[in-house]
Symmetry: C2
């Protein structure tokens, strides 16, 4: 019996007639600089807040609720009145220390709406929208106010009501396997509770990527499908109380929607980077985008073990071999996994089993670090935590200090565990178990990266919390995993499918760099399992799947077998002056051109799904009137990921100019890689 | 990178080869007494538990995961080994003090599987299945064990993977409006996070109702659609820590699946009642199934107010009028809402605003209680809490004591609030806000009912936690609301549709009695809004929508206008010796016959959706060879819920025997009510 709710509403709004209670009134509105996107903020008769979004006059997000339930105070969900509203315009351009493009333009109109719950001792809240032509971000700002100094949020009631029938590319949230799931395509009405980025294609072709920016000291936002196409924020649960607990003034992360005519348009947006805070680390010349090899793939092939024993891969002699190979081929880094004590343990489930400072006896860390340095190579450190944050945080400083002393300036961290069972230091001193997506998990990942920064160490986080653009604020956060990597081709059930990259580009890759570990030219996993990829696609991945820290994952002996293909892996850089997505469709294909940050060379990568197709590569991005040599690595005529012709690779060179257009056929499961250098 | 999980698995299972790690092995199996249903329990190579369900040899629940994540200890989700398994058979019949049938048969086979996590200090857990021919219940049993004396459950990982394409009738969980939502029909793949009972129809016609039984001191189970047709338990969140916190030995509620060939088969099952504990109250002769009238509908029509003031409905003179009307027409109870101080308040949002002992000055409680008693009528008390459990629990005993002293032996309680904002007494002494579905909410509702029992008071809970069969254990829990009632026809946006009852019967009504407040013969709400119902359906509701406490909701003056129809409301009982669902389809129609508990009379009710249809009512349930008089209340030839002919009611009597079959046409939005009494 809810009539009383109306009566109740009537008591603290001035509406006495039930119908009026539900009527929506627009209280504020603003458009993007180019007028492409418009946001309306609305109030209903119960003083509940909502917003909607129109693109070119057409509604794409229908009126969607805004508000919170709190654990320690009445809800901030109704009885709102508008105290102030302001629209301002902002336009600047900033430089990235490294990235997909050097200069980023930040041009938006900001709509700020200050609201008050007059019937709740005048508690205040602000909702701030930043409206770009290619997307919208909005967040809540809690002022420091005596009547609500501590805020314990149980539910963020933010809704996203998609106004037109849509197709979704998504993965479920809160699954044991975390973010390492196959991206599924489904009608939006059929999704469950999803991780973000959540990529949508509306029936009119409009593309939307729903995500968040600047996830700091707050719970990760999942989006729950309520019913039909109504989505609602669901904060990752804490196991110690309310999902989010804050004191004094704070802001939530930005809730973001990239909105474009097509999939390439989604990728070209810098929305989340723009919504993050500028670099807080100052000089980051000690952060080195680069390529690396390492003691890794052989364990996935069951040729070596992480554990000590007869097959222990991280032994001094073997690591020397990798260092020599790296030095000979211009790779800056050599990753070594399984170097430290603890791998035989119960993975920290009982307590602190991994040591992050004690090597196995057959691994001479100082000697190898020195040997590498003499050869102009750096070891890449490895911290596998097994998800035991409590144990890791106790050793973190000592571990970074050790590496810093040895000249190890980047660390790959790992959090292998089943989601929901990460171990945190409890308020009561006891370890407690929770979700890596929780506010505590979010805090830890930032803590680990900022602690590393104090030792001038860059971090590549595996099994991470999702990327929300924090690399802008902490540029030593070079890369993350956060999706199924190439290792799934070694032992995955099922392995990555032929359309995996074409999905990743327009879903996971919208959030930030991924350490995808490509370049396995041997195209074979454990027990003879073959890749759903041609050799050309392994090369294309270096351009298509962006990572400033890029691994050449295959075994040195395998690279020796394919010198022609290996040349591209040696040549391709990992830091870019500019990026252009030339074409693409979610889960089908993608063609991306990137300009080297340190030369005038351009690189093009294209991937396709299981279907062969010819992609057009217009070279208009080249300097007009200048001649270039294009080194083309393409699928052979018979190339096909389904048979032995997956190895068919054609390499050829052509002289090209900005006027040229390359028409290249991609094989089923195939790809294309091109290096374009100015003609001498 | 999750290979390590396999390695990890390998460490504490004896499986070394990855493929074997995922292979399922059946470790226990059992079938229902009649062999209709079979359950297999399985273990995979990581020692993860699963179960599946076959009906007549056909899989209907595919292998579905079992387990928990804990906040205070490693997960109970893997590394299980079977220590013991037992199958036993049980068959008895027990008597209900009141209900839809007097005698209930409880015939099942029990499969108990005791498992141990050898690698986790031998922690033990038991999974117990009770397998009936018409359904299955299973629960987890935690023994008291020193290595896990306190259990803090963050996630119950129980899955329900529906093996065949299914249609669902559902309402979303965790919505502000709680259980008062329109039941939606959708492909199972399109639901979100659902409340239970969740009713499913598989493509082969098999019907399943997913629910739970004996929800005590545990969080309510919602079911989250993970993806496709995979559902997973989601425990209603606590705002103070883990969803469930228990000490020592305990059992979870039963996870239940009623499984039948058709919708009537679902309704005929007593699964949840059988899985609840027997009556703990002993003699409950003080619990009186009965009908009542009251000061209620006039407020929904805005003719009176709950609040004090010129239109205050609960004034002495007006209540006397209802008492006289009840006495004159054989109604035992007179409900009075808005009798107590506090209705002008902010509904307890700040704190304790309602008084449960202080009447408004214009309401003479003692005098009216005495006046009623003299007339052989009882006042029905009313406790509206506004969801402020903290304030209510402080006054609860005094409030019951007052009523007991005055001879008020039943109370309607109300918890009007937006879900997620119920106020609980916090561990820190402060009030904290949470969900009525949480473990704390669940505890409160049981606490309120058992406290009432100590004063020999029966309870009718509105805005309740969902019913899970606890009326068996606490027979003073006479009824609940927990769905959209008839008041939505007064002011609902939208009002209840013509198919509302046909949906309720096979969804909400599978959980227990509902105080639906039918019998509004005037068929008109506030501001002239008309009902999507014929007058005949208002009568049918008394038989179709079971409640031992049934209101005649309309105004006395309206009953005076329709003496013929009113006769049925006066005659129909609310306690039954037997119940037969003669036919029906979810959301379309339902015909139910019930035998009076106190005479040889039978009553038949039928409802249809917006479609006119002829229902066949075979009278085979009557004593053979005996003559009866059937008093038939049916829709007139022109009756239609969409126009003024909604009032067209035909009453006729016929002599019938068990050999007869009534063929009766139901109008669009119509119904049928029949009283069948032995011929003198």
């Amino acid at each position: 019996m809810r009539l009383c709710l109306l009566a109740l509403a009537a008591m603290f709004t001035s509406y006495m007639a039930a119908p009026a209670v539900w009527a929506q009134t627009v209280v504020a509105t603003a458009s993007s600089p180019g007028g492409v996107l418009t946001v309306d903020v609305q109030l209903d008769g119960m003083g509940k807040l909502a917003y909607d979004i129109k693109r070119k006059g057409k509604e794409i997000i229908a009126p969607s609720h805004l508000g919170f339930n709190l654990a320690n105070a009445p809800k901030m969900d109704d009885g709102f009145t508008v105290k102030d509203k302001r629209v301002s315009e902002h336009d600047d351009t900033w430089e990235q220390p490294w990235g997909e493009r050097r200069y980023v333009r930040n041009h938006y109109r900001e709509l700020r709406v200050d609201v008050e719950q007059t019937h709740r001792s005048n508690r205040r809240l602000a909702i701030v929208f930043r409206i770009y032509d290619d997307g919208i971000g909005f967040r809540y700002e809690f002022p420091d106010q005596p009547q609500l100094r501590d805020v314990a949020i149980t539910d963020e009631l933010t809704e996203f009501v998609v106004a037109r029938p849509a197709t979704a590319w998504w993965i479920p949230a809160g699954e044991l396997s975390g973010l390492e799931q196959i991206v599924e395509k489904a009608p939006l009405a059929e999704i469950g509770t999803a991780n973000t980025p959540l990529t949508l294609r509306l029936d009119d072709g409009t593309h939307i990527a729903l995500h968040e920016a600047a996830l700091v000291d707050y719970a990760t936002m999942w989006v729950r499908k309520v019913a039909g196409q109504k989505l609602r924020a669901q904060l990752a649960p804490s196991t110690t109380g309310a999902a989010v607990v804050r004191h004094g003034a704070f802001t939530t992360p930005w809730r973001t929607l990239r909105i474009a005519d097509d999939a390439p348009g989604l990728y070209m947006s810098d929305l989340e980077l723009n919504l993050n805070e500028p670099n807080k680390l100052g000089d980051v010349s000690w952060v080195h985008p680069s390529k690396f090899v390492g003691v890794w793939w052989e364990m996935h092939l069951n040729k070596g073990t992480w554990n000590a024993g007869p097959k222990h891969a991280a032994n001094t002699a073997n690591v020397k071999r990798y260092i020599d190979f790296a030095a000979a081929n211009g790779f800056r880094g050599v990753l070594v996994e399984g170097w430290n004590r603890g791998w035989e343990s119960d993975w920290g489930h009982g307590g602190a089993d991994f040591s992050f400072t004690q090597p196995y006896p057959d691994f001479d860390l100082p000697a190898l670090a020195a040997y590498a340095k003499r050869k102009g190579v750096r070891l890449i450190g490895h911290h596998e935590t097994g998800g035991n944050v409590a144990a890791y945080e106790k050793q973190m400083d000592a571990a970074y200090k050790l590496y810093a002393k040895l000249g190890v300036d980047s660390v790959k961290s790992g959090y292998v565990h089943e989601a929901g069972t990460m171990q945190f230091p409890g308020p009561d001193g006891k370890v407690h178990y929770g979700n890596y997506d929780s506010q505590e998990g979010v805090r830890h990942f930032v803590k680990a990266v900022t602690a590393a920064a104090r030792y001038r160490i860059a971090v590549d986080t595996h099994e991470p919390v999702k990327d929300t653009g924090l690399r802008r604020t902490y540029p030593n956060w070079l890369a993350r995993e956060g999706a199924r990597g190439v290792e799934y081709n070694a032992w995955g059930e099922p392995p990555n499918a032929a359309d995996h990259e074409a999905k990743l580009v327009f879903t996971r890759m919208l959030s930030g760099p991924m350490d995808y570990t490509p370049g396995v030219l041997s195209l074979v996993g454990a027990g003879g399992k073959t890749f759903n990829s041609t050799q050309a696609k392994q090369l294309a991945d270096y351009v298509v799947i962006y990572s400033p820290l890029a691994m050449a994952a295959d075994l040195p002996e395998n690279y020796a077998k394919y010198p022609a293909a290996f040349k591209f892996i040696r040549d391709v850089p990992t830091d870019w002056a500019d990026t252009r997505v030339l074409n693409g469709a979610v889960g089908e294909y993608a063609t991306i051109a990137r300009k080297d940050r340190r030369s005038d060379a351009w690189y093009v990568g294209a991937v396709t799904d299981g279907t062969a197709r010819t992609v057009a590569v217009p070279l208009a991005f080249l300097d007009p009137g200048r001649q270039y040599v294009a080194e083309i690595y393409r699928d052979g005529e018979q190339a096909d990921y389904r048979n032995e012709h997956r190895f068919d690779l054609v390499t050829e060179t052509r002289t090209v100019t900005a006027k040229d257009l390359l028409d290249v056929r991609l094989a089923p499961g195939g790809g294309l890689a091109v290096r374009i250098v100015p003609k001498q």
